[in-house]
């Protein structure tokens, strides 16, 4: 068997696996879309402005409604010490 034939078989297997995952992803997204009306009601009914991804610091629990430079405001010279602070960039309207 030519080396290129083996390569094509490997590429086909890889493509098959990725197509299978893509189809399953589309199915999972359809499941998520079915929950959107519930999320709409919760967001509107409670006036929510943020996702609950991290709950350790108020500026990563509610980045949209948090203070400007809040990570550094606890006392003069304070440094930001919560790990999630490194994952979230400040919103543009809160940057100096």
């Amino acid at each position: 068997m030519r080396p290129s034939t083996i390569l094509f078989i490997v590429l086909l297997l890889l493509l098959g696996a990725e197509s299978g995952l893509a189809f399953h992803g589309a199915y999972l997204r359809a499941e998520q879309r079915a929950q959107e009306p519930e999320l709409d009601i919760v967001t509107a009914g409670l006036g929510l402005s943020d996702l609950c991804v991290a709950t350790e610091a108020r500026y990563t629990r509610n980045p949209a409604a948090s203070d400007r430079v809040v990570p550094f405001m606890d006392h003069p010279g304070a440094v930001e010490h919560f790990p999630t602070g490194s994952f979230w960039a400040p919103p543009p309207y809160m940057r100096f």
Binding site: R2, T43, G45, P90
Partner: protein
């Protein structure tokens, strides 16, 4: 003509594959490192894309305008008297006062988000019962009632009990009875929430009767959100006015490459490529130069040698790209980005089980491709071209 050209390329591809197989340990190690770098970049891109998309969907009905009071750079409680000033602005349909904040549970280290409002006056407030897995929403006249997120009963160890207490600032206990629990499908928004009446939230946080945390403002014409926000900012200069478009924009930018973690991912990838590029650009090994010399003596042209090197580079980078993206997808969708979770949730005691399913566009893959495969192809072909243009006899010697 086309068939012979295709056959020629297939022969060159066969030769390139044989060449890679001869140096299989080196080829495999480069491919694995390459795949790991692509995995890192693709995972970050997929996590941030799915969170941004989830926020875009979930926060489409966020308050049109939120008004908060700022004192010395910090958010402070806002006087209820500001309601009169807001009501005087033409175009405002409704202003809803809220009291909300965070409650640290010293017994388990968890932070709860406590929200007090009258659901009956909120948009879609009458439908909130549909979002509960069990129970019902309280009415504003009921005292000491709460609707909680999925995490709360487990975090407090309530088991079958439906009552709990939280400490007021003076360390007296404020009792609550759970009337409902939010459905698991809403966890992305409600996981740590304790929703209660305005009066009970005021009692819990000991907020004076003439103060609230913020106002949700709803306008008659959504096209006028910006105009009315400007008017509010003019009339109440000590407030910060957040609009729905601003809230939605927040989640399009907070998970970016400019965040500390994103920068680390990008810099790691760039450092790996710099090392790889340095290795390649510093020239071919004597064996590789000799191989090129022999090929040229046998009648191969410079273009053929370059085609072999191009195929080698393309094969390694394309396979690494395919494997890296495949593993990144599995990591994000089926393992909830487990490698990133320690940074995403930090020291949070309660956090929702994230169901991340990014809806990736071609542009996302092109971005990763442009950062990874293109530079690798460039640094592979350039030294090969330099070696292929030297006379064969000097290359062999």
């Amino acid at each position: 003509m086309l068939r012979s050209s295709l056959e020629r390329q297939l022969n060159i591809l066969d030769y390139a594959l044989s060449s890679l197989w001869r140096r299989r340990l080196k080829s495999l190690s480069i491919m694995l490192v390459f795949a790991a770098v692509i995995f890192l970049l693709a995972s970050f891109q997929m996590v941030t894309t799915s969170l941004s998309q989830a926020a875009g969907r979930a926060l489409a009905r966020a308050p049109e305008i939120t008004v908060q009071r700022m004192v010395a750079g910090r958010q402070e409680t806002i006087p209820l008297a500001y309601l009169d000033k807001l009501s005087a602005i033409f175009g405002i349909r409704k202003v809803v006062p809220r009291i909300w904040g965070y409650h640290f549970d010293a017994s388990n280290g968890a932070n709860y988000t406590v929200m007090g409002l009258d659901p009956a006056v909120m948009p879609l407030g009458e439908s909130l019962n549909l979002t509960l897995a069990e129970g019902r929403f309280f009415t504003d006249s009921e005292k000491g009632k709460a609707v909680v997120g999925q995490a709360i009963p487990a975090s407090m160890g309530l088991a079958d009990r439906r009552t709990f207490s939280l400490f007021r600032p003076d360390l007296t206990l404020k009792p609550f009875t759970i009337t409902g629990v939010f459905a698991p499908g809403t966890e992305l928004l409600t996981h740590d929430l304790i929703v209660t009446t305005l009066a009970d939230a005021r009692d819990l946080f000991a907020i004076p009767p003439d103060r609230v945390t913020d106002f949700c403002v709803y306008v008659a014409n959504p096209a006028e959100i910006q105009t009315i926000a400007r008017k509010i900012a003019d009339r109440l200069p000590d407030t910060r006015v957040l609009t729905r478009p601003q809230i939605q924009k927040t989640y399009q930018v907070v998970f970016g490459w400019r965040s500390g973690f994103g920068s680390i991912c990008l810099l790691t990838a760039l450092a790996a490529f710099a090392i790889l590029a340095w290795d390649k650009a510093s020239g071919l090994s004597p064996e590789e130069r000799r191989e090129i010399g022999i090929l040229k003596v046998l009648g191969w042209e410079t273009a053929d040698v370059l085609a072999v090197r191009f195929w080698e580079g393309l094969l390694i980078s394309a396979l690494a790209f395919g494997v890296g993206c495949l593993l990144a997808w599995i990591h994000v969708v089926y393992f909830g980005a487990a490698l990133f979770r320690p940074v995403m949730v930090g020291w949070s005691v309660i956090y929702p089980p994230l169901a991340l399913v990014p809806n990736l566009a071609l542009a996302d893959f092109l971005l990763i491709f442009a950062f990874t495969v293109m530079p690798y192809l460039a640094v592979t072909v350039i030294p090969a071209w330099r070696a292929a243009t030297v006379p064969p006899d000097s290359a062999i010697r």
